[in-house]
Symmetry: C2
């Protein structure tokens, strides 16, 4: 496995060296004559500018705004690599831009930031926002990501979504809905235990709560989060208010007993075969830590897991944000809906889940290449 990853790393470095940038800004029209220039630029463009100045909504029809997304990152939580800064984040954001274009024809511009200050990030994104139709926040560490997303969603009249939270949550929910069909359990009558209360963990808990999952318990490194635990930051206090209804205390090992579902967005090794054996019948295991899952799929299956998903493309059932965001932003831009609410997230998850007609343990989630997937997600935005 190490060898394989190292070979991918070498080939990826070589590809990046060759391309010197995976994306480019292209002209959709040529300027070959003085007349072309007069239409694309001055004096002709003056009429376009004046028309928009009089009626700003015309920018949606006369500029790239309605098809463009800023992919904003401060480089503080890049992939599983940690706080590697804006330049280290740039190739990842370029990769997202490639995916946006290829799968939903969106013009996505990486914007990597020289600041990791919450207020400075909010001010910067607000300042550049007229250029774009929507904002995707990316690889910004918790808990700053919560405040940044909430404030921008409130203060800007355009879709703002932190992909590490909601992209992951939507795709995880999609997978869970199909996994539950396989084991014939209802989402409203399951016990879900999550390991990890960072950006993705919080968003998953909120979305599971929104679809009516009755018992959700999150564990951080200190064990179960419950209302009244003395060391909770504001984001975990909020979590405690709607999860863990019986105020259960204890370690992951203790609270996982009897659980129907485990969702890990934490780190390798936190889930053991022995813990799986204490879970309810036909347990569902989502071990999403990247690149090394909380437990390897073969071990989980040997311990009795009915369905296993990971974050990796080399195992079945990859929980991959890229199944969601190209279509979701396409739908938001096309409909002109400005807020990404729970109803939209749930519809997107159902669109992804519904793309698989007959779920099996090795196919609960489509792949990014499934024809029609991104269009289905885009369509789901408009109810």
């Amino acid at each position: 496995m190490v060898k394989k990853i190292s070979s991918i790393a070498q080939r990826s470095l070589a590809l990046h060296k060759k391309l010197r940038g995976k994306i480019e800004v292209s002209a959709k029209t040529n300027v070959r004559t003085r007349d072309d220039l007069a239409l694309v630029y001055t004096p002709g463009v003056g009429a376009v500018s004046m028309a928009i100045a009089k009626d700003p909504k015309l920018a949606d029809q006369l500029t790239w705004k309605r098809n463009s997304v800023a992919i904003v990152s401060d480089g503080s939580a890049v992939l599983g690599l940690g706080n590697i800064g804006p330049l280290g984040a740039l190739p990842v954001m370029e990769g997202k831009s490639v995916i946006f274009k290829q799968f939903s024809k969106i013009d996505a511009v990486p914007i990597v930031l020289a600041t990791q200050d919450t207020e400075a990030i909010i001010a910067t994104v607000k300042a550049i926002s007229p250029t774009f139709g929507a904002i995707q926040l990316e690889d910004i560490s918790a808990p700053r990501c919560f405040e940044i997303e909430r404030r921008l969603a409130d203060e800007l009249d355009m879709p703002v979504m932190h992909d590490d939270q909601h992209g992951t949550a939507i795709v995880a929910l999609a997978g869970l809905l199909n996994a539950l069909k396989i084991v014939r359990k209802k989402s409203t009558a399951i016990r879900v235990v999550c390991s990890g209360a960072g950006a993705a963990g919080v968003a998953i808990a909120k979305l599971l709560h929104a679809v009516g999952v009755s018992t959700i318990i999150l564990c951080d490194t200190k064990g179960a989060i419950f209302a009244g635990r003395s060391d909770l930051n504001p984001s975990k206090q909020e979590l405690a208010s709607f999860t863990n209804p019986k105020h259960e205390r204890g370690s992951l090992e203790q609270v996982i007993a009897g659980a129907d579902v485990f969702i890990g967005i934490s780190k390798p090794g936190v889930l053991t075969p022995a813990m799986i054996k204490t879970m309810a019948k036909n347990p569902i295991i989502f071990a999403l830590a990247n690149p090394t899952p909380e437990i390897m799929p073969d071990e989980a299956i040997a311990a009795g897991a009915a369905v296993v998903a990971t974050g990796r493309s080399d195992f079945p059932n990859q929980v991959n944000n890229a199944l969601c965001y190209p279509g979701l932003f396409r739908g938001m831009l096309d409909t002109g809906i400005k807020k990404v609410d729970d109803a939209i997230k749930i519809r997107a998850a159902k669109a992804i889940a519904g793309f698989i007609k007959t779920p099996t343990p090795t196919r609960i989630i489509p792949t990014i290449f499934d024809r029609g997937l991104h269009q289905a997600v885009a369509k789901s935005v408009k109810r």
Copy 2:
């Protein structure tokens, strides 16, 4: 003329409606297979990110940074249209992006701002700067543009240039050098009178001073600017320190007497045939107000002008920033030079001027379409 402009306006509006954005973000590589995805995005991109995190200079080789420019405007002084705001500015910035790509293969991203506050603009541009290789400031009104450009050039380790100032100044100087050849005068022994002390006027005065023009007098709406005039803002005080050496006072009409060169970056009608008749022999008239010049070329010639330039594409000798910026930024990005100093500006002006082997009164300035022009400007950056 009104009819012609109106027809261009209609056709330009129609083109913009059809295109819905003159530029797009394109992928330089396809993602068709799981392997493609592993190289362009995770897991392969992780190695690229880590390599850059360890050595940030590698971003120049492994991302689009070294070929990308942000075109930043707050929409406060768009073309001749005034303060029409960021959305009104967007089609102009898209037009500049088209020109950047077509003439020098640069990836230029419009960034239009929701703020016109000097400090907020500086903070925003600094925050997004890691994404780009250079910053072009555009259509930001005086005097804020001076402070914004100076601070960003000082505080960022990358080229920063306000095009309305220096693009105009460089191309005007190029034209002037060729016009002086026609009338056989030396740049060091001429009297130049400028009408307009905004962004372009200030930059022209500075660049003429840098090439050794002995007498430069700028007029604003209150007449000649001289050291000690009681109503000067800081930018005009600085101008007064190196222009108008004899502290001449009076209106444009008074100080233009005996001048060899008139440069207008002001408004229609400020220059009359009678004034031209008071100038030195073979006067050179640059009437650059847009879209209506300070005097129409036929009137200027009838009054004795030896050479006339305007800002318009439908008359000979168009002083057009687009002759300069594609090549200049190409040269800055390719050489890795971080500061646009006077020496670079003068070399760029000479490269543009030198592109015309035998200047004539109707051809002192090349056009944007002249083959090899932009490469020559790019080459001039590297001395």
